[in-house]
Amino acid sequence: MDTIGDILRDFLKDCIQNESGFVELRYHKKEARSISAERGRIENTQLKFRTGVAIRVLVNGTWGFSYTGEINKKSVQAAIVSAKKSAQLSSVLRKEKIPNLPPANFAVGSFIGEGITEVTEKTLEEKIALVMSMAGDGSFPSSRIQSIACGYSEIYEEKAIVTTDGADVFFSLIRPEFRINAVASQNGVMQVGSESIGVTGGWTCLFKDFQPAELREKACKTATDLLDSKLPLGGTQTVILAPSIVGLLVHEAIGHTVEADFVLSGSAAAGKLGQQVASHLVTLCDSGISEFYTGAGGSIPVDDEGVLTEKTTIIEKGVLKSYLHNRETAEKFGVKSTGSARAWEFSDVPLIRMRNTYIEPGNSSLQEMIDATKSGYLLEGPKNGQADSNGEFMFAVQKAHRIENGKIVGLVKGVSSSGMAFDVMKEVDMVSKEFKWDLGSGYCGKGQPAKVDAGGPYIRTKLKLGGTNE
């Protein structure tokens, strides 16, 4: 009996059977559920359905794109005609024509994600009950806690990708996420503590490290601890970064600069292949697979060009080895696609994006790193981050623990950190054995969102912290 994957692949293949040029069809069904509660009431419960077929063609060396929300042969073929017409018309302005794309490591068959049944068989009532129990009934664990918000969301996706040059694949996956956000208040000062987790996988995988109540307790503690905190001293400091912050660092500082489309625009990584760009302690990778253990939030078996994803070693022992590619940039650089083309919905064009980005673990322990630090900060609790074309990056953290003479002596307010990507990587002098995926609830924005994860060991380096001048 045919599965839904077989049926969809056959339908798409039927739509392009008479096509002679390059045509790529991507069926994408997305169901997003979310529940949020705060101060004893359900704030929001919603369900979003988006289903359609994306069409991409290559005509006269120029891309044409269209899509339809109507899943039938007539609509898909009409959208193919529309995409071809658009490409034809715009090709008059295209200076550098895209040649025929060489074959890639195409996926063929069906890939069914782990944990789908485990998440979908939980009823809405069970999920609401969990969120309500964490958001509380309006009474809080401390008189200084003023509000607790809790959110649960999940994205279930099915994709089928068929191209005229060989991709023929169906895959499905589910990504649940859980968030807690607490507000503490005292003498007119308000502070926030947040905890969030997210995985590609099931319910058990989501709560494998922390139970919901533990996350709630951590968020409340952060919010109350920060009430008395002050800004750190601004300037360049020795810092130990927790795995979540390492994740932010490698995503923002290195990951974006090695996306081949940014490289072609002149990013800081352009022309540096083969060069020593980081400490020899640093081996940095981006993978569609969840390395070390399952559940990394940015995992995908196949990218949105139908190419099998792989582990891409970007920096090996400090030497820049590879950029991240789609089929077009792979052809331009004379390499194979790294399976990094991703689209958020059927209405989005695939772009080069990261998946799960990390530094490989080293030989030190966290305690050894703290012991060896005379003056510095341990940074943890990721907030947001951004990268710049010149290699300067910025990311923000919730908490900075002051380290003096090998001991943690206090907490200061989390602030933003910045530096030049490769300079900071060259300063890495200690890398821990511990490894953790810790940005599973993160999204990357590049015109359209993408679900990514990042992490690594603890690392020690030097960064500039925003703060006071005296």
């Binding site: 359905f49 044409g64 794109f65 929300g69 200076k95 507000v183 208040s185 002149g266 500039k464 925003g466």
Partner: protein
């Protein structure tokens, strides 16, 4: 290209269909249902690395379905009209899954709406693909002739036409047909090994004439901003003044305004809950909203719940005049009706927020503000984090300058940190001149005193 008449026909057809679906729902005992529909036809030509990338033609419809039963709410969105009734049943099922009725959860009764002029100018009917190609030609031409060192990493020119429409079982029924032309560009200057910061700009207009005028300004502004970040150098940190450009002011005030929403106040996440009528910022700051300005891109006659919008004072000389309420938050606050500030679209339940903000000009001339006697950072872009609850902000400044002794020095690796609520009481200048952002909001330049500015440890 689709015409006004064709969009109008599509709207009437959608209204009839949605009306039928709501009637069926009422017959089936679903007494409170609201459907928000957004329809758009877009043609876009994107740019990547100074060349044409992808040409896209698309037509999209999305429905947001809200059902309230026993004072509990369920919400479903779908892009398939065929599943609209199924979505109503799904939303009812979600509402039923909750067992916490709240009397304030209900759909609002209809109120009269006064249309805004100029949301679709009929000469847009003749705007074709060749016009988009010409806009791209102009972008390439200005870059090559005036800013050859600037790389456009990504960009686009597009025309978007469509409608938004809301109908509910309480009798709300309103719609707007809209259309605009827009372009955007994102990139940086590269001069040998010197790579500048990313910057961006955009232009929009209701017809070709408005768009072309705005495009001319935006291209020069983009090129100058990108070039301005070349030759940047590190500086030593200090505590001093910053001047925010209009784009940065607009972003900076986002957290202040989110603290003035009914939602943040009810959840006790705002410092302003008991501050209505009180001074919360420097008296130099005055903000109002006006969603009824003809032809502006943020103009609209009704909000996410189909309630009328209106011009109103938000902060006058530092004193809070008005919070932002949707129907639910207004009821929770003990008010009779919303302030017409339900925010969002077909993909979300109604939130609360401002509509087309305008910031009043000050008394200082911009040229005087830009020649400070004290050491000052001119912040062109802020790349950082801010928190509406605490007011804490911290982040890198981009494409920015140190103004000192009559010199304007491009800087890099500079972080500014502080607390927004404190800094807003340290405004020293607001410019007379204002910039129109996105054909929607007039915003001046604003100078703040006593901000922590972190540089490098030594001059480089």
């Amino acid at each position: 290209m689709i015409t006004y008449q064709q969009i109008s026909s599509k709207l009437e057809e959608t209204k009839t269909y949605v009306d039928g679906v709501i009637s069926k729902a009422k017959k089936d005992g679903i007494s409170q249902v609201e459907i928000y529909s957004a329809y758009s036809v877009d043609t876009e030509l994107s740019i990547e690395k100074n060349d044409i990338s992808t040409s896209t033609h698309s037509e999209d419809t999305n429905f947001g379905v809200r059902v309230i039963e026993n004072h509990c709410q369920g919400f479903v969105t779908t892009n398939s009209r065929d599943t609209l009734y199924q979505s109503i049943e799904g939303a009812r099922s979600i509402a039923r899954s909750q067992n916490m009725p709240d009397d304030c959860v209900e759909l609002p009764e209809p109120r009269s709406i006064h249309p805004v002029d100029g949301l679709y100018l009929t000469d847009l009917d003749t705007f074709g693909f060749e016009d988009i190609l010409n806009s791209i030609r102009k972008i390439f031409s200005v870059r090559e002739s005036q800013f050859p060192k600037v790389n456009i990493d990504t960009g686009s020119a597009s025309v978007s036409k469509g409608f938004k429409f809301i109908a509910s079982s309480t009798g709300v029924m309103c719609s707007e047909i809209r259309g605009d032309i827009s372009a955007s560009f994102f990139g940086m200057a590269v001069d040998g090994n010197d790579i500048g910061s990313f910057d961006y700009d955009s232009a929009t207009g209701r017809n070709m004439a408005m768009f072309q005028k705005n495009l001319d300004h935006a291209l020069v502004s983009f090129g100058e901003k990108c070039m301005g970040s070349l030759n940047a150098r590190s500086i030593q940190g200090f505590r001093g003044s910053i001047i925010l450009t209009p784009d940065t002011v607009f972003n900076f005030l986002g957290d202040l305004l989110s603290s003035m929403t009914g939602t943040m106040i009810r959840k006790k996440r705002s410092k302003f809950g008991d501050k209505l009528g009180q001074q919360v910022t420097s008296p130099l700051l005055s903000i109002f909203e006006d969603p009824l300005i003809p032809c502006f891109t943020g103009s609209t006659s009704f909000d996410r719940e189909g309630m009328p919008t209106e011009a109103k004072e938000i902060i006058t000389k530092g004193v809070i005049h008005q919070f932002f309420y949707n129907h639910f938050e207004a009821k929770k606050a003990g008010l009779q009706q919303s302030s017409g500030n339900a925010s969002g679209g077909s993909s979300s339940t109604p939130g609360c927020g401002p509509k087309q903000l305008q910031i009043l000009p000050g008394k200082s001339h911009l040229q005087d503000i830009l020649k400070p006697t004290d050491k000052t950072i001119l912040v062109n872009r802020f790349s950082g984090t801010s928190d509406a609850v605490s007011g804490d902000f911290s982040g890198s400044v981009k494409g920015s300058f140190l103004l000192e002794g009559g010199e304007k020095i491009p800087v890099k690796e500079v972080i500014i940190s502080g607390n927004m609520y404190e800094v807003l009481n340290r405004i020293t200048d607001v410019s007379r001149e204002r910039k129109l952002l996105g054909s929607s909001s007039h915003v001046p330049w604003i100078k703040f005193a006593d901000v922590d500015i972190t540089g490098t440890d030594e001059n480089c």
